[in-house]
């Protein structure tokens, strides 16, 4: 389609025209290349040096297949019975809701105090660093730490889960707050409104939909964590039943039943989250 005359004029007399580059060396390209390359190298190294403790992998996979078959194709309530398991499930759901509420209330307060567009830099930075440290410690370790002081049980579980929730939601909420248009805040500030009035009249309504989204995401995470704390810290609930069934009595039929219960609850939580988010987005 090129004009042939033009082509002849453009072609240099040298035997080969210079190579046309398609892209320049850019930092972002190089970075992607380096990061992917090193991740793959690390993976290769790890996988070839993986300690399998002398287990024959092929036999182990066969064993796993039998276990999965028992779990998912022949689930039953086992020796504990349906009522006990449902009760344990309910208490785990309750635990996750309770800790999400605590996390949301404190998380919002800290988020307001930590957001760059609202508070002074030192307070904000202090809170952000503290929350980053709290977040870095896994929930299960928080629960174990509190269980030394309060004893194994609900209080330790509630505190352990709440701590991580507060730190997580502080970060999520304050990112939402920092995304607010400056003028929204300023327009109320110039009316002489007090700080917390601005917060609840201007900021809260603007970001309520995203707050609700984050809170429900955290609820789902807390449900998973409540199971983990129940299992690894012996804090009760469906997690503990799961641990006993799969790690002590080796009743994989019951394990499967519990897993199905858990999946049902997560689907329900997801469904409710979608519905409530729709309500808040449509308003």
């Amino acid at each position: 389609m090129i004009n042939s005359e033009e082509n002849i004029i453009q072609k240099p007399k040298t035997p080969r025209s210079p190579q046309i580059k398609l892209h320049e060396q850019s930092l972002s390209r190089t970075m992607i290349f380096i990061v992917f390359g090193s991740l793959i190298l690390i993976t290769g190294y790890t996988l070839t040096h993986l300690d399998t403790a002398g287990v024959h992998v092929d036999e182990a996979f066969k064993g796993l297949a039998i276990t999965l078959n028992q779990m998912f194709l022949q689930p039953n309530a086992g020796s504990d019975g349906v009522p006990l398991l449902l009760q344990a499930l309910a208490s785990t759901v309750m635990l996750s809701i309770l800790t999400t509420i605590i996390g949301a209330v404190f998380g919002f307060l800290f988020a307001v105090l930590a957001s760059k567009n609202l508070t002074n830099a030192y307070l904000g930075a202090g809170i952000r660093v503290a929350m980053a440290i709290v977040r870095a410690i896994p929930t299960i370790i928080w629960a174990l730490i509190f269980s030394i002081v309060c004893g194994l049980g609900t209080t330790a579980a509630v505190l352990g889960l709440s701590f991580h929730s507060i730190a997580y939601l502080t970060k999520a909420y304050s990112e939402s707050i920092e995304g607010i248009d400056k003028s929204t805040i300023e327009s109320l500030k110039v009316t002489g409104a007090k700080f917390w009035v601005v917060v609840f009249q201007a900021i809260w309504p603007t970001i309520v939909a995203s707050l609700v989204s984050w809170t429900f995401i955290r609820l789902e995470i807390n449900f998973a964590n409540a199971i983990a704390v129940g299992a690894a810290a012996g804090a009760g609930g469906i997690g503990y039943q799961l641990f006993v069934a799969s790690g002590m009595s080796f009743d994989f039929h019951e394990t499967g039943f519990i897993v199905y219960l858990v999946i049902l609850v997560t689907f329900a939580l997801e469904f409710i989250a979608v519905k409530i988010r729709q309500i808040y987005l449509n308003r």
Binding site: S28, I137, T155, V158, A224
Partner: protein, 264 residues
């Protein structure tokens, strides 16, 4: 809205009160059902930190645990990285098959969605325990547990990325007469690579934390060593372990954020 402004505000006020009352009610009921005393709980927090300050503080003596802790921590990070990378490789193929934009057909899409959310919602505890039963106490068990969990998360994340970011360019290249694989490699992958990498980094951070739980349950990595110190009341060493975890997680987070800033 057809209501009068006054009525609307009154309705809104009523609505707010109702929501607050509902949440408060759930809180009170939950505390009662779980036998959780808010006051006791609140008091326990400063008590716990005071206790941490005395017993959990690493001493000069606990420095001797450091090489062991460090070795286990590195091992845990390596496991977190390798499980995430393998999961990402599997997930990108599955996500390409299952996304609405690049997928084969609606039947496959539904299957992929179902399988991904099934994998994601099986508790990590369950994966750890059934894998422990077959693969015994080994790094491989920890690796598999993290792998299976990550696959569920990454498939969903990657599908959303493809649907959000690649549908328009996909259409443009299809219109030039390019074949399916050309479109995937020339339009879809270059477009989504940074977001994919960002998710992989996030998943690595998350897996380091989750590896602690898996470690406690399956006796591997940093979780195992924390559990040992904790159960044998060597709290200064346990404190040292927690400190090491904090440093590594925050370091990973900082590095990831720097990488994200460059690539996005």
């Amino acid at each position: 809205m057809m209501q009068s402004p006054k009525k609307y505000l009154a309705h809104k006020g009523w609505h707010q009160t109702a929501v607050i009352a509902l949440i408060g009610g759930i809180y009170v009921f939950g505390s009662w059902a779980l036998n959780f005393n808010s006051v006791d709980g609140f008091i326990a927090v400063p008590k716990a930190f005071a206790w941490l300050g005395i017993y959990f503080r690493p001493t000069a003596h606990s420095m001797e645990y450091l090489p062991k802790i460090w070795q286990k921590l590195i091992q845990t990070v390596l496991l977190a990285i390798s499980s995430t990378v393998v999961a990402a490789i599997v997930s990108i193929f599955v996500a390409l098959l299952g996304s609405k934009v690049t997928g084969i057909n609606s039947f496959v899409q539904t299957i992929v969605r179902g399988v991904a959310s099934f994998f994601r919602n099986i508790p990590l505890v369950a994966w750890s325990m059934i894998l422990l039963f077959s693969f015994k106490q080994s790094d491989f068990t920890g690796f598999l547990a993290l792998l299976l969990m990550s696959i569920g998360y990454l498939i969903r994340a990657f599908m959303e990325i493809i649907e959000d970011e690649a549908s328009e360019t996909m259409l443009a290249l299809k219109a030039t007469g390019a074949s399916y694989f050309q479109v995937i490699f020339q339009a879809v992958l270059p477009q989504i690579l940074p977001s994919i990498l960002s998710w992989i980094l996030y998943m690595i951070e998350n897996n380091v934390r989750d590896a602690t739980l898996v470690g406690i349950l399956t006796g591997t990595g940093i979780g195992f060593i924390f559990d040992i110190y904790y159960k044998s009341f060597r709290f200064d060493a346990a404190g040292m372990t927690v400190l090491a975890i904090i440093i590594v997680v925050i370091a990973l987070e900082t590095i990831s954020n720097q990488i994200r800033r460059v690539i996005l």
